[in-house]
C-alpha cells in the first residue's frame, strides 16, 4: 500500500498559538479525502505544509513519499495544489496559461488541457480577467490536472461558487479521480463531500477529532432518542459523541459497535453534517489533553 500523504506529529506554531498540533495520519493512494473543520481549524495550514509553502514547527509531513521543502524539485511535478480564489495571471489569456503550464511542468498533457477547455466551453483567447469566478476555478483545476499529478491538494477552491459551478467543478474532479489520482479536498460545505469523498479527516483547533472511511463513519453512527434517565447507560455503543437532554427525553449521537439493538432507544440514521457538527461541538468543550482522534477500523 502506498501512501500519498503522511504526517507524523505534525505541528505549526505562530507565535504562541498552535495552528496545527500532533497531527498523525496516512492517506492511501487513490482516495478522495474530505478535510473538514471550522474556519481556523488548521485545514489551510495542513495543506500549506503538505505542499511546502510553509515549514513545520514540529513533526514531519511527506507527500508522495518526499519531503515538500527538502525535495521540492522532485515533489512539485507530482503534487498539484489549488488555493481558494486560485491565483491566475489576469493579463494572460487561457491559451497562454496553458503554454505556461507546458513550459514549467515536466509532465504536461497539453492535449488534455486543450480538450478540457473545449469541453468546458472556455475559449483559449479569453483573458483571465473576462472569466467568471466559476470559470476561473475550472481553469485552475484543468491547469492542475494537466500536469498529471499523483496527488492533488485543494484548499476550499469552490467555497465562493454557485451550486452549478460547484457541481461542474466536482464532475471534472471525479473524472480525474477515476484515473487513480489521490485528492485531498478541504471544504466547509459538507453536502458536497459525502458523495465525492471516500475518506474523512475532521480538524478542530489544529487537532484531528475524527478520521476514517466515509461510508463506515456515516453508517457507524446513529442518532438515539430515548429516556433521559438512561442516558449514562446506553449499552452496545463504542462512544457517545454528543447528548442533549430535556426533562424526560434525551437525544444522543453515538458511534455504534456493530448493530444497535437496545429497544429502549429509537435509532435513526444520522447524516455526515450532523456527525461532524456533533464532533465539533464536543471538541470545543473537551479538555485538549484528553482528546485523541477517533479512528474508524481500517
Amino acid at each position: 500500500m502506498t501512501y500519498a500523504l503522511e504526517a507524523a506529529q505534525l505541528g505549526k506554531q505562530y507565535g504562541s498559538r498552535w495552528a496545527l498540533r500532533g497531527l498523525t495520519l496516512a492517506i492511501p493512494s487513490g482516495r478522495v479525502v474530505a478535510l473538514v473543520g471550522p474556519n481556523g481549524a488548521g485545514k489551510s495550514t495542513f495543506l500549506n505544509l503538505a505542499i511546502g509553502l510553509q515549514a513545520p514547527t514540529a513533526g514531519t509531513v511527506r507527500a508522495v513519499g518526499l519531503s515538500p521543502r527538502g525535495d521540492a524539485g522532485r515533489m512539485l511535478p507530482r503534487v498539484g495544489y489549488l488555493a481558494q480564489e486560485p491565483p491566475l495571471f489576469r493579463r494572460f489569456s487561457v491559451g497562454e496559461l496553458i503554454k505556461m503550464g507546458a513550459h514549467l511542468n515536466p509532465r504536461w498533457d497539453n492535449a488534455l488541457a486543450v480538450a478540457r477547455m473545449e469541453q468546458l466551453g472556455i475559449s483559449l483567447d479569453l483573458p483571465v480577467s473576462a472569466l467568471s469566478g466559476g470559470m476561473r476555478a475550472q481553469v485552475a483545476l484543468v491547469l492542475a490536472l494537466a500536469k498529471r499529478p499523483e496527488l492533488l491538494l485543494l484548499d476550499e477552491p469552490i467555497a465562493s461558487l454557485d451550486p452549478l459551478a460547484r457541481h461542474e467543478f466536482l464532475q471534472l474532479l471525479m473524472d480525474a479521480a477515476s484515473d487513480g489520482l489521490t485528492v485531498v479536498l478541504s471544504s466547509h460545505i459538507i453536502g458536497d463531500l459525502r458523495a465525492t469523498c471516500d475518506y474523512l479527516i475532521l480538524l478542530t483547533r489544529g487537532e484531528s477529532l475524527l478520521e476514517g472511511e466515509m461510508d463506515e463513519i456515516v453508517t457507524g453512527h446513529r442518532r438515539l432518542v430515548g429516556p433521559a434517565d438512561r442516558v449514562n447507560a446506553i449499552g452496545g455503543v463504542e462512544d457517545v459523541v454528543q447528548v442533549h437532554c430535556a426533562d424526560r427525553q434525551a437525544n444522543a449521537v453515538v458511534r455504534t459497535r456493530g448493530p444497535f439493538l437496545d429497544p429502549r432507544w429509537e435509532a435513526f440514521p444520522v447524516d455526515l453534517e450532523q456527525i461532524v457538527l456533533a464532533y465539533m461541538s464536543r471538541g470545543s468543550t473537551q479538555v485538549r489533553a484528553a482528546a485523541k482522534p477517533i479512528r474508524m477500523a481500517q
Binding site: 500549506n48 509553502l53 521540492a72 488555493a83 489576469r90 505556461m100 513550459h103 500536469k147
Partner: protein, 324 residues
C-alpha cells in the same frame, strides 16, 4: 520560466526599451550639439596649449556656457536609471501583492528557480539598458570631460558605471520592500525615494572623502589645481573659504575680510590680494585630481551595488524561507 518572465514583464520591458530609445536619441542630439560647439570654437588646440591665451580662454568660457545651457536635459539623466530600475521591479512587486507568484510555484517550479529567473532576467535587462545609457552619456560628455573633467557632481553621476549601480540598487530596494510588505505602491515610492536620498547623501558627503583629497595652500601664482580637477574646498565659486596663516591656523572668510577688507571691484581685489600676501595668508584648497575618476567610479559602484546585492540576498532569503 524564461518565457514566463518575458511574458509577464513584456509591457515593462518594451516600455523600458522605449525609454532607452528616447534617452538615446536625446543623448545623441545633445552629444552632437556639444561636439559641434567644441569643434567650431576650436577648443582642442587650446587644450594642448596652442594659440592665443586670451582667445582660448574666451572660447573655453563660451563653450562652458553652451554646455551649461544643456544642463536641464542632463539633470533628469541622473534619475533615469533609478526610474528604470523601479520600472523593471514593478511587475515583481505586483505579483507579490496579488499573490500570483504562487501560481508558478504550484506549476512545479521551486522557489529558488523562480527567484533566480524572475529576478535575474529583469536585472540583466536593466544592466544592459543602464550600460547603454551610461555609454551614450559618456560619449556625449566626452568633449566636456576634456575641458572640465568628469569628477564634478552631475558629470560623474551620468557616466561610467555608476548609473548602472543605482539602477540595480533601485531595483533591489523596490523588490525588497515588496517582499517584506507586499504592497506595490509603497515599494515603488520607497524604492525611488530612498535611492534618490541616498544618492544625494553620497554625492554631497561621502564621495568627496572616498580618497583623501590633495590639500594645498594657495598663496600666489597659478592655481594648484587644473580645470579638470574637482575642487571640493576653495577655488572660485566656492561656498566657504578657508584661509591658513603661517602658523597653520584656519581662518574663515569673515575673519579674513576683517583683516583685509572686502572684494567689490578690480581695485579692491588687488588690495585684497596684496593684503593676503603681506600677511602670508593662503587659501586652503582641497581637490580630487581628474585621474581619480575611475577609482571613484569603482568605489561608488562597489558601495551602491554592494548594498543592492545584499538587499537582493535578503529578499531572496525571505522569499524562500518565510513566504507562503
Amino acid at each position: 520560466m524564461i518565457w514566463l518572465t518575458w511574458r509577464q514583464q513584456r509591457f515593462e520591458f518594451l516600455l523600458a526599451c522605449g525609454v532607452l530609445l528616447g534617452a538615446s536619441l536625446m543623448l545623441l542630439w545633445t552629444g552632437e550639439q556639444i561636439l559641434v560647439s567644441f569643434k567650431l570654437l576650436g577648443i582642442a588646440p587650446c587644450l594642448r596649449g596652442i594659440g592665443d591665451a586670451t582667445a582660448c580662454s574666451n572660447a573655453i568660457s563660451e563653450f562652458t556656457s553652451n554646455v551649461a545651457s544643456q544642463q536641464p536635459q542632463l539633470s533628469w539623466l541622473v534619475y533615469l536609471p533609478m526610474l528604470i530600475g523601479a520600472l523593471l521591479a514593478a511587475p515583481i512587486a505586483l505579483e507579490i501583492e496579488q499573490g500570483t507568484y504562487r501560481l508558478a510555484w504550484t506549476q512545479s517550479v521551486t522557489r529558488s528557480r523562480w527567484a533566480l529567473v524572475r529576478l535575474g532576467v529583469p536585472i540583466l535587462v536593466g544592466l544592459g539598458i543602464g550600460s547603454l545609457v551610461a555609454a551614450l552619456s559618456s560619449w556625449s560628455m566626452e568633449p566636456v570631460n576634456r575641458v572640465q573633467g568628469a569628477l564634478r557632481p552631475g558629470s560623474f553621476d551620468v557616466q561610467g558605471v555608476v548609473p548602472v549601480a543605482y539602477l540595480l540598487l533601485t531595483f533591489a530596494v523596490t523588490v525588497t520592500v515588496a517582499v517584506l510588505f507586499r504592497r506595490v505602491l509603497p515599494a515603488l515610492a520607497l524604492g525611488v525615494g530612498l535611492v534618490v536620498v541616498l544618492h544625494l547623501a553620497v554625492m554631497t558627503w561621502l564621495r568627496p572623502k572616498f580618497i583623501g583629497p590633495i590639500s594645498s595652500i594657495w598663496l600666489n601664482g597659478p592655481a594648484p589645481f587644473g580645470p579638470r580637477d574637482w575642487v571640493i574646498q576653495g577655488g572660485t565659486g566656492s561656498t566657504s573659504y578657508v584661509f591658513v596663516d603661517p602658523a597653520g591656523n584656519h581662518i574663515n572668510l569673515a575673519q579674513a575680510q576683517a583683516l583685509c577688507g572686502q572684494v567689490t571691484d578690480a581695485a579692491s581685489k588687488n588690495s585684497w590680494s596684496s593684503c593676503l600676501q603681506a600677511r602670508h595668508l593662503g587659501e586652503l584648497i582641497q581637490y580630487q585630481p581628474a585621474d581619480r575618476f575611475w577609482a571613484f567610479q569603482a568605489i561608488e559602484t562597489a558601495l551602491i551595488a554592494g548594498i543592492g546585492v545584499a538587499l537582493l540576498a535578503i529578499a531572496v532569503w525571505w522569499l524562500r524561507k518565510r513566504m507562503t
